[in-house]
Symmetry: C2
Subunit: 317 residues, 2 copies
């Protein structure tokens, strides 16, 4: 049984699910909350899941990082749109040998976190999970839960499989979370963008589910072309993705149930969109490396427009 | 006073306005109607316009081209989405020396009309007009009315300024319609697409007015990039558009009142969109000529998706 202690920053669809599963598996978990702090402190967490419903009537809940005990692994499970909070949240949580695990979409976040906590403390993870927060402390897990884990070194220099990756893997597997280890975190992040860029972006712009998009021949073509651009962007950054992965990914998407992407859910909920992590950062990285990515750029421009208008609308209301 | 007789196919926002003005100026005009036939036959046409309101209590209205008298100029003022009707509508209207004037958006229509009526009978016109049909036989003209007129020869071979162009110009100017003559119809059609492609397309996809789009820096950039692609597409077809026209066009657009494009109005009204004339035909022409137009293609794909979904929705209702 691991004695590692976990801090979870952001107890929502993602952090609430993984943190609760870790605690249920016997690990010592400490949750940072904001809006739901009072509720969760008194009532704990409830997780509905096809893998088994459970509740944790008592959890270690905090409204302030200053009150949290020293933790071995600090899991950043906020949306990237809240990362402006990290310079305040992370420094009080640093202890001699602990690490920060960034469980977020897109790329370019680890370098920002490294600026705050140092380049040798950061790991990254990509979550393949369908999960929603449906009420205070109430998580509805729908499908999947796997995480691809990679270690971080400055400039995303590949780290191979490190000892601490193995340790995190052991803890999460104890909680029945499938963990895949990646020797190259940036490669893994680009790989996930092959799906996220076309389907997150187009689902918002076209107000569409994956099923509707896959049923449309022009959108299947466009999704393929966007995926090819992501592969080209990765290649410009010296990350070789298998070109034949695209056809397989489209096939899998066509077989999925009608699915609203995370960006579409955020858009419908009026939450900020993770445009910079998923579009802006990859575009800047790849175009600086010489790639020309007109379709990704166009989608980025359309999303910026929709996001800025949403902000104007909500200020008016 | 001209003795030329005009047939107007499509007595809507465009054909209703121009036809009424020609009749008011003393020309002999014959209107083909469909839905509004009974109304207009009994009550005539009403035109509201900042240039002067007027009504024509009696017009020559027809529900069937077979009943129309021989006309010197047959004006096609239908939406391009109704052009599948032309093989039925045009042949009965052909007489020894008459012409067909295509007043439609986009490009690639004249070759289709030439297949029906012969390559030496076709002229084309591009309308710069804001006008709506607000009720049966009731046209609300808002702004502008100019037409750029060009003669057609097979494969859009430039015709220069022909005698019959001068004659049509004379008739329309008699009705106070500003007419510009173009020596090269295909060049003129590409020129108009420089505006129509970005703003018609994006207004539908982003649900936005010209003012909202011009207020957004990413969309101004995108509109510029789309315009550059249209210029590149024209160039591949050996039509040289002035590159500096783009900045001027953007400036003018920024100064316009909030304006819904014709495609946006069609979308809101549930009418078919002129996607093929404005996007499909230019794209096919330019890519066959070797141009690579990823942004125009993406917008075309998005519009096809929105259009196909709209059709599914209306079949369901």
């Amino acid at each position: 049984m691991s004695s590692r202690r976990y801090a979870i920053l952001g107890t929502g669809a993602l952090g609430g699910f993984y943190g609760a599963r870790l605690q249920k598996a016997g690990l010592d978990v400490h949750f940072l909350l904001h809006r739901d702090y009072d509720w969760v402190r008194h009532s704990g967490l409830v997780v509905e899941s096809p893998e088994g419903n459970f509740s944790l009537p008592q959890v270690n809940a905090y409204a302030d990082v200053q009150a949290m005990p020293p933790c071995d692994v600090v899991v950043v499970a906020l949306k990237t749109t809240q990362n402006h909070l990290l310079p305040q949240l992370l420094p009080p949580l640093l202890h001699e040998h602990n690490w920060v695990l960034v469980l977020q979409n897109g790329l370019g976040i680890e370098p920002e976190v490294a600026k705050i906590v140092g380049g040798d403390r950061v790991m990254g993870g990509l979550c393949f999970i369908c999960s929603n927060k449906v009420g205070p402390g109430h998580i509805r897990h729908l499908d999947y839960s796997a995480i691809t884990l990679g270690d971080y070194a400055p400039n995303y220099h590949p780290c191979g499989i490190t000892e601490r990756m193995q340790q995190v893997k052991q803890d999460f597997e104890q909680a029945n979370i499938p963990i895949q280890l990646s020797e190259d975190l940036l490669l893994a992040r680009w790989q996930k963008l092959v799906w996220n860029i076309p389907f997150n972006g187009l689902s918002v712009v076209l107000d569409a589910t994956t099923t509707e998009m896959m049923a449309s021949p022009p959108i299947r073509t466009l999704a393929t072309e966007l995926m090819q651009e992501v592969v080209a962007g990765a290649k410009a950054c010296h990350k070789a993705l298998p070109d034949d992965a695209i056809a397989k990914m489209l096939d899998n998407t066509a077989k999925m149930k009608p699915y609203k992407t995370s960006m579409k859910l955020d858009y419908e909920a009026g939450n900020p969109l993770e445009i910079e992590a998923i579009f802006g950062n990859p575009l800047r990285l790849a175009t600086q490396a010489g790639a020309s990515l007109p379709r990704m750029t166009l989608l980025y421009q359309q999303l910026q427009f929709l996001e800025s208008r949403k902000i104007v609308l909500s200020v008016k209301c």
